[in-house]
Symmetry: D2
Subunit: 350 residues, 4 copies
């Protein structure tokens, strides 16, 4: 008699396998009342933008789009303005590895110069070198530096590291974009303010992630540099990213920011990752590829262990090298799930 296949469990697969968190859900509910003006001229959107400006303690310009690919690509298009340009980024950056050429599409043909760097972080020397690739007009002109915070390796740039990179970029005429799909996790873990991690550190435009924080189709693009924001509303519309019922983006953001839910959820995800990390450290056959700082763990895991976990229903992905797996926690991950996973880990790894 054959054993039942366990239901697949996507908990640690990504932070986008979780649903809408209660606060965002409440925001949706509040926004779902009566008729309001469409395309962002509603009170939810207006208030949410004001609230984001308060959060960043500056008069930034805020736009809502549907997902992270769009937030990043439209922001980069605004930075580049022309197709004969280059974006310098890390070779593990989402814009290069996981957006199917969306930045290339929305810029009309810009190139990404993807650089390696330890722990998922760009280093000034590498960026410096990349600025001078090619000879004159025969190679695209560098126009933007894109940084991911927290990084795709689950690490953090310090404010000093950010400043070193953004100064170099600005000194060479590049705009600085930050992919903040997990910006909340970065703010929470760094104990720095949103302002300190962005405009005070030289960031011109931030993709402020909502989805992985517990929302749905509600990413914010936040411009600290007003020149870059010029006409961005047209870009959003032409890019197929202007919601007619934008109230739901506004409503979710309002609710998430109102009582600090955005940070609370990030703190929870980060804490679950720490709980999982603490357990993993006790298992000699598993190694961290990089010391975790936020809600993602990257673990070197013997193939047999991965196979055994998969057989028990756990779904997560290989990410770095041949046996480097990513384990991701979210606002929805429970201690019980962590503990169940750890139990299965202990049963298979030694």
């Amino acid at each position: 008699m054959c054993a039942a296949t366990p239901a697949p469990n996507f908990t640690f697969g990504s932070d986008n396998t979780a649903g809408i968190c209660p606060e965002a859900w409440a925001g949706l509910t509040e926004a779902n009342a009566g008729c309001v003006a469409s395309y962002g001229d509603d009170p939810f959107t207006t208030k949410a933008k004001a609230r984001i400006r308060e959060l960043f303690q500056t008069d930034c310009e805020v736009f809502f789009v549907f997902n992270g690919t769009a937030a990043n690509s439209l922001a980069l298009a605004a930075c580049c303005r022309s197709p004969f340009t280059r974006v310098i980024c890390h070779d593990y950056s989402h814009i290069d590895t996981d957006e199917c050429g969306a930045p290339e599409l929305f810029t009309g043909g810009a190139k990404l110069t993807a650089l390696s760097g330890p722990n998922g972080k760009l280093q000034p020397a590498a960026v410096e070198g990349a600025l001078h690739l090619g000879h004159g007009v025969h190679f695209p002109k560098p126009a933007a530096l894109s940084l991911t915070q927290s990084t795709e390796w689950g690490t953090l740039y310090t404010a000093d590291e950010l400043r070193a990179l953004t100064s170099l970029a600005h000194a060479n005429g590049l705009a600085v974009h930050m992919d903040g799909a997990r910006f909340a996790n970065a703010v929470e873990a760094s104990h720095l303010s949103p302002a300190d991690l962005t405009w005070r550190a030289g960031v011109d435009v931030l993709s402020f992630g909502g989805t992985k924080n517990g929302m749905q189709t509600a990413e914010a693009v936040v411009f600290f540099n007003h020149d870059l924001a010029r006409d961005f509303e047209y870009r959003v519309k032409q890019g197929g990213q202007l919601a007619s019922k934008m109230r739901y983006a506004g409503g979710q953001w309002l609710a998430m920011l109102r009582d600090g839910a955005w940070l609370r959820h990030a703190a929870h995800a980060n804490a679950m990752a720490r709980r999982l990390a603490d357990a993993i450290r006790q298992i000699p056959s598993l190694q961290f590829i990089v010391e975790p700082q936020v809600n993602a763990l990257f673990v070197e895991m013997p193939p047999a262990v991965y196979a055994a976990l998969t057989a028990r229903g756990w779904q997560f992905y290989r990410f770095i090298g041949e046996n480097g797996y990513r384990l991701m926690c979210s606002w929805a991950t429970t201690e019980a799930e962590v503990d169940a996973f750890v139990a299965d880990l202990r049963a298979t790894a030694r």
Copy 2:
């Protein structure tokens, strides 16, 4: 002492000023349970696609995107495949007048040949003429015909009219796209099946509107022509339209199709428009620009009447000519709202 300004009332402004309908809300709720695979590999999305195939009684291919602009533009890009092409459309088509060049962006530079036609409908003779514009390679090659059903003027193509146009298109090598932002209203008002109004009438790809039917960020692109659908999943991703939490699109569509809510809401919107139309017919100073067939009325209205209604808070827009206003009903429009509007109309128009 100055009078209080009435709160603006967007009820008749558009069918996207209403919120999420109860059934779609239920769909969201059902989808919001636990962790599921992202990017469409979840059971809600899978079932919704199957349900749409049943609805159309054919093995069509279904993709979910965020809004109508994206649905139309990506579908047209799939029809055109190349930037040296043309899309033939009505000069009141949304793709030409209200999408800020999104079709041009996503095709990489195709041109729209916008033709006038009575009652918002294209006529074969005009399309025939448009096929032969320009001389050879000096003018873009016609690649697609785009039809809107129901039209931007609130009218309907009959199945025979559709067939006449689609035959002409196919005979000349053009693919046929249907902008069905209000496809539900068209199905309900025409008493024809979804299949009869699309693939049986020669439509290759349909933008199947969810938003105006009561959903949120959940439009479907339905390909009846499998060749055109090839690799469309890449186009969706690169276009910034792949939802990580796609379960919410799937969940809403499932719920809307399950018990016929999609048609019921369209029927309601159409009925509210009829109720409003019947009242307007009694007011001699108001004329219909076109005989209404679905949920939109186009009314020639003296400026003073418009001004008076605006002063009472009603928000709706000029659309055709100098004094042609559009009044739109939705799933959410109530008889009481219609009656209140009619009362104000009667008070100001004679």
Copy 3:
């Protein structure tokens, strides 16, 4: 025994059916000596650019590209900078009717708003109206006005007419492009200086035609507005328009400008057109559609006359309406050719 078919004669078909004029040929010859630096770092190119600056009596920036489509499209891309924009132009403009969507391609998806206007000329009122098409972000933002001088109808804008249009454009934030495929003919016929017809009249960037003036693959893009010229060298390269052996463009321009050949050839073409026009005026069955001002005649011609001329080998094209034919003279057209054509005309038309 059947009659011999006469060899086709393309003389009046276009001003690009003629070859390279003697002066341009001399320029090619001079440039064809020894090894020189490529991509424009050669003395011919440098001197030609300086000579063009002298011609325009201002510090303009000059770039050479291969043909008029590229000159126009790249110049417009520089004016628009973004894909969510519009170019306002005449509905007989070459950019709209004869460049297969090249402006759309090189701008990444901008739209052309093509306006009718008498005698091939745009009128301020029409442009004014076109500025305000669409509502907000739902329609592309007007970014450039494109004027053709001399026009596609063989007419001329006066300096006052230019100024009225360019002031309107600038007041609304639009850049002004001039398609000068036949700029030489316009300068000669208007008795105005190159400066008066361009920057003094508010033109920001000129496509200065070489081909129709007697050269080969050598159009100049001349920026009077330095902001628009920023990084244009990258655009030229990425657009596939940077000649490695640019010396031949430089050499031709140098030779054409050195002794006034460019104006002499334009004067000749204009004079041949006048000679032809004078003869046509004597033939009652032929009517001018528009009073000719440069080297093109637009003649309403009975179909039988056109058929008879074609049978005698003359190749020219229908251009306006059902029986409106274009007859074009070039630097190479001879009095004998004009007289032979007139003789055939007289033999067939009355």
Copy 4:
């Protein structure tokens, strides 16, 4: 008293610093007679295309464009058809390093996957790996393999090597493009026929270089795969690459192919490179980075030697690593120039 600076000598800087060769010049002269139809409907163009078909012993489709960047980029756009695609190429390929993102522009946003490989050549194992980069729709779909023959390192793929790569490409649904900017040099040095080096080896489309072979603004795009060639004439026009006076491209190609001048010039350039190589081999302080096979030498040269040669007027460029310089010979390079350079080399290097 300061010494006179020697005139710069560009002979070895590139094979595009030379002018138009006598046979191409004769072709220009022959084409420069009378009025002919424009845009390629002239006898020179027609005959030249027929002659190229004979050369390749197959019914290929031929298009003329202005330069190599355009030939490559338009050919790749024809291979890719869609912007969500990838081109696999060598990391020294001209399309990646020297075309300022033109392939990205003309494809509308495709990505180049640039791979390292010894001696400037791609290896099947590397290509195999590159086919499987990324996960599903999150990374662009591989659509084309681009090979350079002769390579940017002055080496040659053997027919067997080509077949191994093209079979792999075809087995995975990729089209194969060959950048043949120096195709003549490759044919001559390999002692293989044009057919053997292209379609018999699995090449779908060739950029057949004219410029570096002695012509001006006359590259050919040769499609062996007719499906890929569909509508390419529109792509050429929209891409700003359709010459109105195409007769000059046709005339040059006709003259170059008529008496074998194209191969003779390649043979000369290759021979001059061998002469130079033989001399360099005698100088112990100079090393070849790669064994030369055609008209380019890559030499590791002490900085002092480079400085001394520059001081004597020789202009050539660093290309590989810190001290790897490229010396290029062309149809115009003379034995005397080689010997003079060698003399200067011997005077400075030991």
